[in-house]
Symmetry: C2
Subunit: 394 residues, 2 copies
């Protein structure tokens, strides 16, 4: 199978390249390395996966350094026999997108305008390639009814076989751009006959695959800062330095989580079972749902097995989100294709095994939230609160 | 009342300024005049409303020439007592947006990125102003169930008082940008407490208001070309030169239509009945729904009253859309506020009365479609077909 990965230097892209190479795929990567510069700009530094690109690109058969927008037509012309395009090349941070109007504009530009260029390139040069696009479970928000996989059934209206896209309620500019991407892709499958899998992925954790678990040079980037780190990775980093796990607000926020190894398996299942021409299909991609409080407890008890003593501390939620809510989500599509989810506990343990030796390198300054998405307080004030809290926690 | 109109030089903005001035409002306008240059670029020329901006700006108390994105923060600081912002400043042509990847990118940039800058400006300088945003009925597409005003009731799930945004299925990049705007605005009413009226407007026709019906210098722009003209205005222009009315495909496409005088009245009703803080409300704004075939028949019979003999001719549909479909749309919100719709027949007659004297100035070359939104034919080929058809019709 011949696969083009957009965002090959990123968290998922670098892992996927290795996963696919191990399965005899021909893998082409493109990346403008913007994740590196974004994280650096915010003072973050990943704990792993920060090798220079001249090393990381060895995981690909071909690698192009640059914005895919400028390369996509050439690449699609060069590789007429491409089976799939996996699109990971998006600005992935909600806090980043809410930090300033410039960040918000950059997020829309990078995620939506560039995706449109990709789609137009496919229209002209690869209309039959299978597009796998990374969306997020956050597109749905937390509605009071069960979340299906992308589509609302019209059975209540007596139309048993018909459906409409399920309503989306994003919670940040970043999440809104993912909704916008979905709108574009759903539409162009209808208009231009594309075949696409739109992945609504939960929160991924982990750094290594079974294939590379003993070679830390091949692990993917592990960001744990407040802007680019996700909840579970951040908790693990906090545990490593025996800092309190900072739960935002009540901690009743419930989300889907999955091990990065599961994420790779799901994408492999999607690649091997492509949709038909004109089909826009949605996979809700995660193992299980957990509340943030439960997540913190699992991390805390796992940390204990590694001799780390941590407690859980609630801080004011910098995000605007429901802290207790209904959450019921269908995940049948991937399970019907054979996906067998890893349990949270074993995944977290696998992660601690990898990172325990790196605990000296965790930077405590990077962990507390600096960006607030309320309109009535400015970021600076929140930064001060953050700093004070860092001091009081020491 | 103090109102800021973004897009004050456009089709609706120029009329609204006059309508509001006649009702003792203080009216500020901004426009970068892009509609003028877009139309010119495609070889079009409006039949009316093309006066230089130094004349048109007399309809405003203040007028700023430039992209509102660069002016919005200054304007909102200057006018702290602003009651409402009416946002008409968007690239309004579906064919334009489907013409090339550059046009598509420009449409996303102008409509979505710039709207984000407006919203961020409101966040910092005018969080209480009433935002009236022009969307389009085209955001909904043509779903097989009745279209409510913006929200899907969750009654079928036993949640009588809850609702979610109604699913959207746009049919062009332009329509997709309007959906994206709605996503942003709905979200920021939730997060930042804005009050917004999102108008899903039908197809507007007409050129004059009752207030200016005898002064052609004050009529708004009448574009009838294939890129910026809308169906009914184009039919009227065709009638004026006794050309066949070109119906795309079967003509069963059903849409909501309204006279521009109705459009002004509806916006006036919205201005005088603002939503409450944090409320995102949707008005479906049109008088009645008609099929394109029926529209052509009304124009044909009205033309006859003016001594014009026209026939109706079907041509291949350059758009990708259902040509026969279910269409049932709620319009209660505006009617409950007192909107009393004008009948199509009388509105079309009012329009003919205005334009009959200008029939020598209609350019027959401008009328046939040049942009095709299928992916399997390029624009050039369609242009040739268009030209051949122009010749064969002569």
């Amino acid at each position: 199978m011949k696969v083009l990965i957009l965002g090959g230097d990123g968290y998922l892209g670098f892992s996927l390249a290795q996963y696919l190479k191990a399965r005899n795929c021909f893998v082409i990567g493109v990346d403008n390395l913007s994740r590196r510069s974004f994280v650096k700009k915010f003072g973050g530094k990943p704990l792993t996966g920060d090798a220079p690109i001249f090393m990381k690109k060895n995981s690909f058969d071909e690698f192009y350094h640059g914005n895919y927008r400028h390369h996509v037509e050439g690449l699609l012309t060069l590789h007429e026999d491409l089976d799939a395009i996996v699109h990971f090349a998006e600005q992935p941070s909600a806090p980043f997108s809410m930090g300033s109007k410039e960040n918000a504009a950059e997020t829309i530009h990078n995620n939506v305008v560039n995706t449109m260029y990709l789609l137009w390139g496919m229209r002209d040069f690869a209309p039959n390639a299978h597009l796998i696009k990374l969306g997020t479970m956050g597109e749905y928000g937390t509605p009071p009814i069960p979340i299906p996989e992308g589509f609302l059934s019209l059975e209540p209206w007596g139309l048993d076989d018909e459906k409409l896209p399920f309503p989306k309620q994003p919670g940040s500019i970043y999440h809104a751009t993912k909704v916008m991407d979905s709108v574009l892709i759903e539409m162009l499958c209808r208009l231009w006959g594309f075949r696409a899998t739109d992945i609504m992925q939960g929160v991924v954790y982990g750094v290594a695959l079974d294939e590379n678990k003993d070679d830390s040079n091949l692990w993917t980037r592990f960001d744990y800062d407040d802007v680019f780190g996700t909840a579970l990775n951040r908790f693990v980093a906090q545990s490593l330095i025996e800092y309190p796990l900072t739960v935002y607000g009540k901690g009743g926020q419930t989300r889907g989580f999955l091990d990065i190894r599961d994420s790779m398996e799901c994408i492999w299942l999607a690649l091997n079972n492509p949709p038909k021409e004109g089909e826009y299909r949605v996979f809700n991609q995660f193992a299980y749902t957990h509340s943030i409080s439960r997540l913190a407890n699992v991390v805390k008890s796992t940390a204990k097995e590694f001799g780390l003593d941590v407690r859980i501390k609630r801080i004011r939620n910098p995000r605007l989100e429901a802290e207790e809510h209904f959450y019921q989500v269908a995940t049948d599509n991937l399970r019907n294709l054979g996906y067998s989810p890893r349990k949270l506990k074993s995944g977290v343990k696998f992660l601690f095994e990898r990172l325990i030796g790196l605990k000296q390198e965790v930077n405590p300054e990077a962990i507390l939230p600096r960006i607030n998405w309320r309109r009535d307080e400015d970021v600076q004030e929140t930064e001060l609160v953050g700093e004070k809290k860092v001091q009081s926690l020491r």
